[in-house]
């Protein structure tokens, strides 16, 4: 799915002027509070209208002020999970969930009330009114309601912010299944880099109403010029590897050109490509043999550059089998190890450090996956 946006919209003191094209199956809108994420999502949904510009999804023009096109929201078939849940207060949870279903042609429906409610953990709430739900419960019902309308594109505005970690961990795989099995394209608004890295393949970084960057998640997260927007602590690389047979139960062995990794918490069949986010702060470096230590994941790499980050940390860029990997180490360590460009090193990555939030299977037809086969 390709989303092309080139719009200008002014309201009060805030001007949104965003231009980008996103090729990904899941596009993340990322940016600080007040950057314009919700405004942009509303424009895509058809709830706000641009002063000038156009938005297309694949070949369909949603709005084009030049040509006088503006498809009304209800004809866009774009699902929207609002930042505030906006449940219908006069309807039971069940009726809320089923609201959009009536409007969907029978052949295009997918999912069922029971399955969705079970998955979201709201099956026991079906006969309640929204007024008697907790904050997180409301948000889950809102998600179910949008899904059961079987949209062609799903907009999620910080859908997990109100949820606890355990619930998040339950829901993320479901969102992935929507992405991979239902092939449901999504726009995902979040300020959690973990979530973005796990779910999205493309991201658009917004700041002050402007799209300051857009592109593949791995590229954006690796760009140090975007660090002010994406966050220092979150410098990270996203690498793609392929699952091989032979892991112990609950651990997947994955092959990467630079070495073999064992990744806990991944339960996918051999042959499947996966996306792994490796945060710079989770990578340690060894020069020569590291000794008897518990870190068993090792990638052979070469230092390609050193960049000063927040003192005293230094960001070491590595080439690991063609992928960029970063390590965040102290200046002291740089000196002690004599790190310099060209030096071969071993990147040490704890198995436990693969973030559960950012582990996910790759869309099977993602072009990144094919690289592994060459």
């Amino acid at each position: 799915m390709t989303i092309r946006v080139d719009v200008i919209r002014q309201a009060g003191a805030f001007t949104l002027a965003a231009q980008f094209a996103s090729e990904g199956r899941v596009t993340a809108f990322f940016g600080r509070s007040g950057a314009g994420k919700t405004t942009l999502v509303n424009l895509v949904a058809g709830l706000l209208h641009p002063d000038r510009g156009r938005i297309t999804v694949d070949d369909e023009t949603l709005v084009d002020t030049g040509r006088g096109i503006d498809l009304p929201a209800h004809r866009r078939r774009i699902g929207y999970v609002f930042q505030d849940s906006r449940l219908f207060p006069h309807l039971s949870v069940r009726s809320n969930l089923l609201y959009g279903r009536r409007m969907t042609p029978r052949v295009e429906r997918w999912g069922s009330l029971e399955a969705t409610a079970d998955l979201l953990g709201i099956a026991h709430l079906l006969s309640r009114r929204p007024g008697a739900l907790s904050g997180g419960e409301r948000q889950r019902v809102a998600l179910g309601r949008a899904l059961l309308a079987s949209p062609r594109l799903l907009l999620l505005d910080e859908p997990l912010a109100a949820l606890d970690e355990a619930r998040k961990a339950d829901l993320l795989p479901y969102i992935e299944r929507l992405r991979d099995e239902m092939r449901l394209p999504m726009v995902y608004v979040s300020h959690s880099i973990e979530e973005v890295a796990r779910i999205a393949d493309t991201m658009v970084v917004l700041a002050d109403g402007r799209a300051v960057a857009s592109g593949p998640v791995a590229e954006i997260l690796a760009r140090s010029d975007l660090r002010p927007f994406t966050g220092q602590a979150e410098a990270s690389a996203v690498i793609v590897a392929r699952i091989v047979a032979g892991g112990e139960p609950g651990v997947a062995l994955v092959d990467h050109p630079a070495g073999r990794l064992s990744v806990p918490g991944l339960d996918l069949p051999a042959g499947r490509a996966v996306r792994l986010r490796i945060r710079a702060r989770d990578v340690a470096l060894a020069v020569g043999e590291p000794g008897l230590i518990s870190i068993r994941n090792r990638l052979a790499a070469t230092v390609t550059g050193l960049a000063a980050a927040d003192p005293p940390m230094v960001e070491v860029r590595l080439d690991a089998g063609g992928d960029v990997v970063m390590a965040s180490v102290t200046e002291g360590a740089v000196q002690a190890l004599g790190l310099r460009p060209g030096l071969p090193v071993t990147a040490l990555i704890k198995s436990a450090a693969f973030d559960r939030m950012s582990l996910g299977p790759l869309e099977t037809d993602n072009p990144q996956a094919s690289r592994l086969d060459t």
């Binding site: 709830l47 906006r86 006069h90 007024g131 309308a149």
Partner: protein, 232 residues
Amino acid sequence: MFDALTPEEWEAVHLSLRVATAATVGSMPVAIFVAWLLARTRFPGRALLDGFVHLPLVVPPVVTGYLLLLSFGRNGPVGAFLENTFGIVLAFRWTGAALAAAIMGFPLMVRAIRLSIDAIDPGLEAAASTLGANRVFVFLTVTLPLMLPGILAGAVLAFARGLGEFGATITFVGNIPGVTQTIPTAIYSYTQVPGGEAAALRLTAISVVIAFAALLASEALSRRIGRRVLGK
């Protein structure tokens, strides 16, 4: 008190109920539509429509009744048209009394409904539209149910006003026992002759009782709706 009613008075009570009910029920769809137009749309002539809706409040009922007589009477333009085209006669029929009551209660109903519409979060309607509901469906499934408190309040006001309507009714359809004589016009007759006060007060008490019953019913209904609509 009740068994002291003459058959004619019983007829007046019965007729008043019929008139007030018909006026309330009949004007409701129109009031809902007009309230929605006024609250949610901008069109040229909107202010004019708004003013027009309020007219029955401002214009003395007798004048309203007279204007009704001129236009809806059998010789009036609208009245003649209705009679020739649909065979509907309003003048000097209980239907005319209902029309008069509907018109007098109309501004009250429209205002109450408008207030309810204004209190609806447009975000809910937006949410419905992203779920594929077109404007009409959004209105029927979201806006209308959330308007219920206003509709109910408006209905109570209009019903009560309909029970009490006198000036326009007697001027438009007269005071014919069993045909157009409602409680208020019957009361009027009593106040115009010596010794009628007791009968007038008795009839007044009856309409108060009826209105009270309607009010209690509406309050019970509104508590149910309130629980449903606001999850209270």
